[in-house]
Symmetry: C2
């Protein structure tokens, strides 16, 4: 296919993860969501939960990200050993994402992968969103989100993702310009979103 790597960013409850899995299955390529967290946990030695939280919601400074992205660590100016755990996880996660993209075609969910892989021309960057009603329904049914004011929980999750993206990329999470394609899964449904992504990736 013309786009080897598909990155899926998504609002919480929009079904972006499920769409990503369907896309990977249809294209017959690897899928990295929880699998990515496991890889990072294994290589870093940190607990799964810590890696999961840190990789998408942490409050690490953008300076550290930019240093790691800029490759200053690899030039020996800083020592990764002395970094706080969250920064170590981030840097390791970024490196693993770059290695996975280099190795073989795949679908990667979240973790600012669109930005981490921005130098590649073989990525299709997708953002999935939906109206609050669709997201709440899905989140309550599938993710054990309390049906008592679930809107607040969802908004908080997305706010943390947006903050993380902002710190790391200096861009606005969810701005069309950052993605090749954005889709409202509440209007189109998951199947159709999958079909469009597959058609555009091929």
């Amino acid at each position: 296919m013309s786009k080897r790597v598909i990155t899926i960013s998504r609002e919480f409850g929009s079904g972006g993860r499920a769409i990503g899995k369907m896309v990977a299955d249809k294209l017959g390529v690897k899928f990295y969501d929880r699998e990515l967290i496991q890889l990072v946990a294994k290589e870093s030695g940190f607990a799964l939960d810590f890696v999961e939280e840190t990789g998408e919601y942490s409050s690490t400074s953008s300076l550290l990200y930019n240093l790691s992205v800029g490759g200053i660590y690899t030039q020996g100016a800083f020592s990764p050993e002395t970094l706080p755990p969250a920064d170590k996880v981030q840097i390791l996660q970024n490196n693993i994402i770059r290695e996975l993209a280099e190795k073989e075609p795949c679908v990667i969910v979240g973790r600012s992968a669109d930005y981490i892989l921005r130098e590649r021309t073989d990525c299709l960057n997708v953002f999935i969103h939906a109206d609050m009603a669709h997201k709440v329904k899905r989140a309550v049914e599938l993710y054990n989100i309390s049906p008592k004011s679930p809107e607040k929980i969802l908004a908080k999750k997305d706010k943390a993702r947006a903050s993380q993206y902002r710190r790391y990329t200096d861009q606005v999470w969810g701005m069309a310009d950052n993605y090749h394609l954005t889709l409202d899964s509440g209007v189109f449904g998951l199947e159709k979103c999958c079909d469009i992504i597959v058609a555009l990736a091929r």
Copy 2:
């Protein structure tokens, strides 16, 4: 088709207008871009250039828009006759857009039509963008934009559109959440963007 009205918002030079025309032709529905300006000019008595500039780049306050959208004018609390010309054009344009959408299936380019028609469930709201290199190439070739720092001219155009959208809608122009679909025409090309929109509208 399931979506009667397609609104196309677009970055300057992204080919959004051309895509909209192709979509309208394929679906066999009316197309409103310059045609909309002509309608507003005819009904208002203002010059075409003034209507064109005012309808997408004016600096009118959001208060007036909101009043017109809220229908306070129609309740007689304010008199449209005493309004500044730019406000008259805006209110007339909004009314015409609503009438067009009500009348028959169509494609409407720009003018915050996605927001003006937000209460309708039969709209497909699309945003078209592209990287600067693609936009500059198109703008210099087709719109007589000076090849001397065209980036500045394009950025200024989009900034004005974004400001207008912000004032009117209190939303961020180009945020994925405001549209059902956003597409990078620089990566996919105009034809493919058209095909996706047509497939999703049907």
